[in-house]
């Protein structure tokens, strides 16, 4: 038997399952994979923490000024108390730890209805465990860790991971497929299950599932040791994280964005899915967007794409930009023709005319002193507008990502003497690019490398460079 332990819950379920997968590579062995999760991930501790915090606020009386939403009803208003929760998110760990010393019967009984409410809320939006882990968490991880609250509906840990990776669908389709395939061989009264096509492919039901389904067996596998270690309350020397505090405007925007995200995702992926909003836009990215918007870093679609690299940016980015503009109307563009006059004494007399004239005209007049240059002519293709030495014999626009890759690719291949040029943008009908191969000769006798083009396929010369 082999034991794999994950110390502290990782960022997402992928990492966890990858680590767990290192156990029991030999299928003959039975292995245990243990996740040691911090208390802040557990819903009960969060409830306890809330109770304690309420008490604390009653004692202090300072922080209780703002009415708080009940924990069960938190699904309706997600942003209900994020401002204050962020500031105290770090102390959630402390509270959870301290509570271990206290005999907690009362708290549990008091909060049992809260827990039931919370189960509902997990089922609905699968979220809201610990505030402190809000930004680093994944909803699936929360479900995975809090699976014991959902075990009434046979939702153990394994169910959640399987659902996330669509393994349940695979199993169903597999069985259906086999039924169809073996329908002739198995008459309806034949009770035995049809054999799988091979032993590797057929999903098997685990003999020992998890600590919810088989608590005794798991307990026997993990050798518990009696530890008489006294829990020392953690010192206050843990540095607090700098948290960005949202304005009220931004928290409204965040509400709307969450609602939009859920609605769009539900229409996209169907209402049956567990994590529709997560599939459309991950919570972490959403929080990032809100902070970016609040600090005025996202204004256009390009910004959104650049900052977040969202997959659905092309399809749904416009809607988000509309939302942003609704909540944060862009500042009116300052009129170019009204310029604040400089104080007269700093301004020498020859330029005093320029005060009345618009600034762009004055700047053009200053550059107008230079002689206009004739457009350069390429020596390779004899077209005006670019030089042969500059890049290649035609200019490559540098803005688009694809063309940056192109250029990189071109320079890489140039070392070998053969250049492959992709021009995906010019033939949009061909979705994945066409390669054109040109042979270049590089004469190295002069100091600057002279690149000459001799097209290999003469029919496919580059289309005229955009001048």
């Amino acid at each position: 038997m082999l034991t794999v332990v994950q110390w502290r819950a990782p960022k997402d379920l992928n990492t966890l399952i990858q680590h767990f997968g290192h156990a029991g590579r030999d299928f003959l062995l039975q292995a245990v994979a243990i996740l040691l999760a911090e208390p802040k991930w557990f819903l009960e501790d969060h409830e306890k923490w809330l109770v304690q915090k309420r008490k604390r606020s009653q004692k202090g009386g300072k922080k209780a000024s703002r009415p708080r939403a009940e924990p069960g009803a938190r699904t309706s208003d997600i942003s209900s108390s994020d401002n204050e929760s962020n500031s105290e998110g770090e102390t959630g760990m402390n509270a959870g730890n301290n509570n271990n010393n206290i005999p907690n019967g009362d708290h549990n009984r008091e909060g049992s209805s809260d827990v039931e409410e919370a189960i509902k809320s997990i089922n609905i939006m699968a979220g809201g465990t610990g505030r402190g882990c809000k930004r680093t968490t994944n909803k699936v991880m929360r479900l995975f860790i809090n699976a014991h609250l959902l075990c009434g509906r046979k939702h153990c840990c394994r169910f959640h991971s399987n659902h996330y990776y669509r393994t349940t669908d695979i199993r169903k389709s597999f069985i259906l497929d086999l039924r169809v395939r073996f329908a002739n061989y198995f008459p309806p009264f034949f009770s035995a299950k049809p054999p799988p096509c091979c032993t590797c492919c057929m999903p098997k039901v685990p003999s020992i599932c998890c600590n919810i389904c088989h608590p005794d067996l798991i307990h026997a596998m993990i050798n518990e040791c009696n530890n008489d270690y006294q829990v020392v309350p953690r010192g206050s020397n843990v540095p607090k994280q700098q948290v960005h505090v949202l304005t009220s405007h931004a928290s409204q925007f965040r509400d709307t964005l969450y609602v939009w995200c859920t609605e769009t995702a539900t229409s996209m992926f169907g209402a049956l899915d567990f994590w529709p909003a997560d599939l459309l836009m991950h919570e972490e990215m959403l929080e990032d967007i809100i902070i970016f918007v609040d600090t005025n870093k996202i204004g256009t679609l390009q910004d959104l794409h650049k900052k977040t690299n969202w997959i659905f940016c092309d399809e749904y980015g416009n809607q988000i930009i509309l939302l942003i503009e609704h909540f944060f109307p862009p500042a009116p563009i300052p009129n170019l023709f009204i310029s604040t006059p400089l104080p007269l004494q700093t301004c020498p007399t020859p330029f005093s005319n320029a005060l009345n004239s618009p600034p762009h005209l004055s700047s053009s007049s200053s550059t107008g002193l230079r002689k206009p240059q004739a457009p350069s002519t390429c020596t390779a293709c004899f077209q005006k507008g670019h030089k042969s030495v500059s890049t290649l014999s035609f200019p490559l626009p540098s803005t688009d990502m694809m063309q940056q890759r192109t250029r990189k690719c071109v320079w890489l291949a140039l070392l070998g003497g053969v250049v492959m040029v992709m021009r995906t943008q010019l033939w949009p009908s061909c979705s994945y690019g066409t390669c054109h191969i040109y042979r270049f000769t590089i004469s190295s006798n002069s100091s600057s490398a002279d690149i000459r083009l001799s097209s290999m396929p003469p029919s496919s010369l580059p289309p005229s460079a955009p001048n």
């Binding site: 038997m1 082999l2 034991t3 332990v5 110390w7 502290r8 960022k11 379920l13 992928n14 990492t15 399952i17 990858q18 680590h19 767990f20 290192h22 156990a23 029991g24 590579r25 030999d26 003959l28 039975q30 994979a33 243990i34 996740l35 040691l36 999760a37 557990f42 501790d45 699936v140 995975f144 860790i145 153990c156 840990c157 394994r158 399987n162 669509r166 695979i170 098997k204 685990p206 599932c209 998890c210 600590n211 798991i218 596998m221 050798n223 040791c225 530890n227 270690y229 829990v231 997560d278 599939l279 997959i311 890759r405 192109t406 990189k408 690719c409 291949a413 492959m420 979705s431 690019g433």
Partner: protein
């Protein structure tokens, strides 16, 4: 170029997971599609949720007609267990159950274990804690293992883990990626090792 007949990515989830954080070159791996046109690509991953599937399809320019083989990644011989930490994180006291106090030299070899953590320092601290739990003559049985080590040392260590000289390892994610691990973990009892259980696979032409 004509000699290349296949391009295969193993552990394809690293392309998206690491491509956005610390290994930015992975993002550009889609360029290979243009450098080597017409050569089929295979990508294998063990964990692929739907978002990652979309991401990888976009990153590697996978056309619509490509094939997706998906098999279950549910490992029936691994039992899951979620435990709540009882002690403060900085003390690693929760790991103490891995080293029962009854361990002596004359015992039969105990169950092996691997502890994964998310940084090198934590892996070292966890292993040091476990070493301190063990009796003096057995301290060398637990070691740590991460990317900051020399390659020959890692090979040696894994070899000894395989053979049963080492009982426990504190690892990081990168340590698990070295590639020997697929032959490492199952081999404590029998020598038959099934290398990898692959789940999803693309084929594209």
């Amino acid at each position: 170029m004509s000699k290349v007949f296949n391009i295969v990515f193993d552990e394809g989830h690293c392309i998206t997971q690491w491509g956005s954080s610390f290994c930015l070159e992975y993002k550009l791996v889609g360029v290979l599609r243009f450098i080597a046109p017409g050569i089929p690509f295979y990508i294998t991953l063990a964990t692929i949720p739907r978002t990652m599937l979309l991401d990888i399809k976009q990153m590697l320019h996978i056309p619509l007609g490509s094939l997706l083989f998906q098999r279950s990644n549910d490992r029936h011989n691994i039992a899951f267990c979620v435990k709540r930490m009882q002690y403060p994180i900085s003390l690693f006291e929760d790991l103490a159950f891995l080293v029962p106090s009854s361990w002596t030299k004359h015992n039969h070899a105990p169950h092996k274990f691997i502890v994964f953590s998310d940084s090198k320092r934590k892996a070292e601290l966890a292993s040091q804690f476990l070493q301190n739990q063990m009796p003096e003559n057995l301290k060398h049985k637990v070691k740590w293992f991460h990317a900051g080590m020399l390659e020959f040392f890692r090979k040696e260590e894994l070899q000894s883990y395989k053979e049963g000289d080492l009982w426990g390892l504190g690892m990081t994610d990168v340590g698990g990626m070295v590639g020997y691990t697929c032959r490492l973990c199952g081999c404590n009892a029998s020598d038959s090792c099934i290398t990898v259980c692959r789940v999803s696979m693309f084929q594209m032409c």
